[in-house]
Symmetry: D4
Subunit: 146 residues, 8 copies
């Protein structure tokens, strides 16, 4: 079956590449999507619509332009992987998880064991918790096994 | 009109009380709801269903019991206030915001200016950003003005 | 039956009062709601959240604060009256009509005959077109007749 | 990804062509749709169903025939651009924007700065405001960047 | 429990009264609603909005004004009874049944055995078929039995 | 654009063929669907699931088997044509119209002028009323004109 | 807050009474609902609509009359308790659980440990698993704690 | 038309193969999907995410991983066949049926006559009851007949 996986969250390690490569090597035809993962480009997403003197409004405009992409891609996906790394606030990842939960969209969390407690509400709504990209690959392979 | 406001997020300061008191003093009949805000009680919400040796599963059970309450209250509310303090991960607050966004439920964020950037996706989906409980009170008063 | 009517659009004539009074005199128990109709207060709805140097953002903040009220009231109403007067752009009235159309919420337009052509898309989605507040009153009386 | 953009609003300038051409030159495979933009044809859309002596009903029939097309195309699109020019009432454009807002369909407004104030409710529900077709092209290019 | 029953269809016999009286005598607190059942008033429902020279448009206006009432009442009801008598086309009754089916709203058909065949699609979507008002009363009594 | 039209109602004249042929000759790529239009086959749709001694249950089983097809096809269509001829009750056609109305699915009625009055509720929810298959063809051609 | 709990499943032990009594003693104002729990009455729910010679159709009619009640009550409830005892197939309980899962309605399963394996799909969609009525009472008390 | 059939329930006989083969021989292009039907693989679906000492949690993890697949496939299907054999509890099959019922997804039950009574609620929500795979094949062939 045609299957689309949206990769949400942390952009500072290569977890996306590991999952995409692992699934590809297993011979499955999965379409992977995500937000724009270039940090600077993402922060500047709204700059072409006019300069802002206030940081809040620059962020606001960029976040909304990004939402055109992310909202559509999440809604079109069959599965979302939400990755939490060991740095930064990553509220956008938790936001995406809540968005999925309200839509009834299946999602898997990917994070280390030491943040299990603050992520308990997010994990409780997820259909699986993985600690490595390889576990996500295994899950996708299982799910798509004919 | 009857109006219900769900207060989501940080549980270590008295922002809930300030909002409730401010709205009450203004003479409006608003029903305020929230998750169980006693931290220990919340963490132990599932303990009566049997002990767990693994932290992950204890958290899992408690988070799900809490979800019975929070999911229902958010869906029944007319407005959600999502508070981010200066400590902790607070991923549950961002999760609630994402949940509201997908439902089309109006929400207001309440946080200091120094976390505007990591909250840009959350703020972009909110109908207002406030920095003080008093601003939230003013907003509710305006919204309910006959 | 309990019945709620949202009155959308023009704020420069007393059409709201005429409808409310007419229905009241007919002895029906209808709850009427609307946006904040004080023009200055409405334009300043977001000012308490911080001053803006750019007109666009001042308007943006105020429009979103107003949306907390209007979105909720429209969704809770049983019927919406959308009034177009002979002045101003009144795009918010047409926006409310489109919002109702997508929700499947019954609405009645109230406008003079000379703007029938530019309002044809709006009227096509409405369940009635009235030219006087009294016709709206008559319609409500008919609809609520036991 | 496959992406469909509905172009709503003003029909007297070539903004549609500019956007379509700009996106095409950038090498993206976007499907553009819109209402029938031939003014006379659009006004006569229902004439083949029988003549009407009353203008209101001629408009009514044509507007409904047009709605068969526009409603379907808006609902099938991923993004809507809503253009307001400097002439005419353009209530249909605002109606489309309200329709999108209720569906949770992302939309971008395209209009000059001098009508920011009367469009504040529409802009508040949009994910971006552009003043030139080129800015819309830039936004679409950003959104579709792999 | 509070329970609302919408009575749709034939207006030439006293089946509504029989059901309402039967349920009342059984001591249940049920709210019964229906379209305006005065035939002449119903046909003239839109006349106060202006005279029409064409029968089609007079009917059109009246049917839409009636829809303000019927659509709302059907959507607010817990159960719909759809009555088909032995005269007239009664397409509005079948229309209401289809409307209920799409909403997932429970409905019971009430009709004689000799029209079972042409009503087979309608009956197939119903949760019960009754041939007498008394059977409907018995069903409501059963359903509401604490 | 890809476009699917469901043809509902009367099965005793060749109106389906006329519409299909007319649209084909105009060079449009439209997918036409409908219920099984062989009357005897349709009545016997459930016979392979076991014989029934009661007519009601034979009809019931067949109507439900037919519903597997019709419900899915209506929901997948972009436009529904609902045809009422001059014979039979045709309640299934009115049922389909009500189903479309509740789904917000655009539909066109096709019937002679002499049944305008009993069809007023159905026509009021339709986006067009045609009296000849050729008018339906014209409407589809207009709607699909690029 | 007003809170409604639907009690689904096994009817041969007094688990419903234990829960109702326990919550009442704790002083909470909860509305409890359920299917008709008198087995014979439930099996005969459709008998007043006419006798059936085939068991399948007698069951069919009764099950549909019961569905008028159960479907409405489940949809109106805030929480569903699904009880599996040690006897009988109890497919209706699992059916109710699936119904809740698709609606996003919170539910708790109540069953002994020895049937954990065959109930794993049901438990996976539940927000809690309890083994005793008292645990359910504790959960409701926690959830409703102001 | 493109048509997808999800095959739910019993995994110990070859009913799936019979249906797939029968439809194939009839020359129809149907896409068949189902849960992972290898019992051991299904029970171990979550094992790669970490070992569990408690059976409940092992089952829980596996059931949720399986749900990623089954939930998506059921929602994407046009028709679901729910098979009940003569062994085991098969609560997951009844759960799937309830899930379909709430979604308004057409489903057919496939089971022997001796379990008609305990399955009456499930059958009441189904669009057909078959006792042999061949009857299901006949139904699909009928439904897809152009």
């Amino acid at each position: 079956m045609a299957f689309t996986v949206y990769l949400s969250g942390e952009i500072h390690t290569d977890w996306r590449d590991q999952i995409i490569e692992g699934v590809k090597q297993a011979g499955f035809d999965v379409c992977f999507t995500s937000a724009v993962t270039n940090h600077d480009a993402s922060d500047a997403a709204g700059d072409h619509l006019g300069e802002e003197s206030e940081n809040f409004w620059r962020d606001h405009k960029s976040a909304k332009v990004n939402a055109i992409r992310t909202k559509t891609l999440i809604e079109k996906s069959d599965l979302v992987i939400v990755r939490f790394g060991d740095k930064y606030k990553q509220w956008n990842a938790a936001f995406d998880a809540g968005y999925c939960a309200a839509l009834g969209k299946p999602f898997i969390t990917l994070h280390a064991e030491d943040i299990v407690h603050p992520l308990k509400e997010v994990d409780a709504a997820a259909l699986a918790w993985a600690t490595t990209p390889d576990q996500v690959v295994e899950t996708i392979k299982y799910v798509l096994n004919a």
